[in-house]
Amino acid sequence: MHLAKKVEIIANSFELGKILECLDKSGVHGYTVMRNVAGKGLFSGPQDLDFTMLDGIYIMAFCMPDQVKDVVGNVRPLLNKFGGACYISDVMEVRSTKCVASL
């Protein structure tokens, strides 16, 4: 086990593509996305736009500690424009090795 960082981003689903691009650009190639999350933020009303199919998404990416700075730098402008939230925390990674042909 060794130290890693967890990046959590909550945003609207139409930004998903852009956020994943940001992650990729920052060298973070692993992520998990959950759709259809609802919420309330500083700016949006409760379940705002819920009907307009712009549902919330929650993105979770575990990455190296030194990638965090890049991720934040890339994601922040997006969140500034469209709203959303981003939080970073410490985790321990359980390393796994997988026997896949593509390795």
């Binding site: 609207n12 139409f14 009303g45 705002d48 736009l49 009907f51 307009t52 199919m53 712009l54």
Partner: protein, 322 residues
Amino acid sequence: MDASLIISNFLNPPVLFFFLGMTAVLVKSDLEIPAPIPKLFSLYLLLAIGFKGGVELTKSGINQEVLFTLLAAMVMASLVPVYTYFILKIKLGVYDAAAIAATYGSISAVTFITASAFLTELGIDFDGFMVAALALMESPAIIVGLILVNLFTINDDREFAWSEVLREAFLNSSVFLLVGSLIIGALTGEHGEEVLAPFTQGLFYGVLTFFLLDMGIVAAKRIRELQKTGTFLISFAILIPILNAGLGILIARVIGMPQGDALLFSVLCASASYIAVPAAMRMTVPEANPSLYVSTALAVTFPFNIIVGIPLYLYGIELLWS
């Protein structure tokens, strides 16, 4: 006459289930149609109405009447956001005014579909190409709205890609599915109609009814937000549809549409978008307050049109045409 139309509209299952949905929210029942079932219904309705329109279009062919109607649709879709913008500017800022104007320039497919079900029940014919008008009127208002924002703000760093905006305007899922189904309907014609009939026609009315139950729930949930909206916007959300419908009826009379088509056209003019345009506005004009343009369209204009507007406009048409 007017009252009897309203009552006959009101006693339709779709409208009654719309009320039932609203009532569920008012009495705090936990009735809800969980996602993505409403999405399934709306995809179905777009597919079915588009397909039917396409089939009918093949039957009627493209003639002068069709061209005039589509032209009128384009004109109204571009004009409405312009004059509503200036009305809205009386009380609101540029961003909010432009976003709401775009919302009212565009259309609500469900209102159109409810009106078509109403006509079917009254035994009044309407033409398949009206679905093409429906498709045509969804997008222009988005473009006009953005042009308004660009004209009236000094915006050095508004850096959205127009290509993305155009895609959102013309290729969003509802326009795309509607137009696609229309083309497929036109290609497969009566043969296609026959094999799909139990699905696209048999279920149509039932699915609309079920969907309006959900729309009632959704609309009622928005009503609470209207407090923040203020009387100006609430009056706007009732009066502008009537004005737009009136204009639509006049144009329909001038170019000689039959009564059924005239009703559908006026309903298109009167209705406001609560899906495609809000999505586009949130993306391109994040400065505008979404609860303003969504709540007025969904919690005021939509119920108004479904319950009062449709029979009212038909009454007007019957007066003028007779």
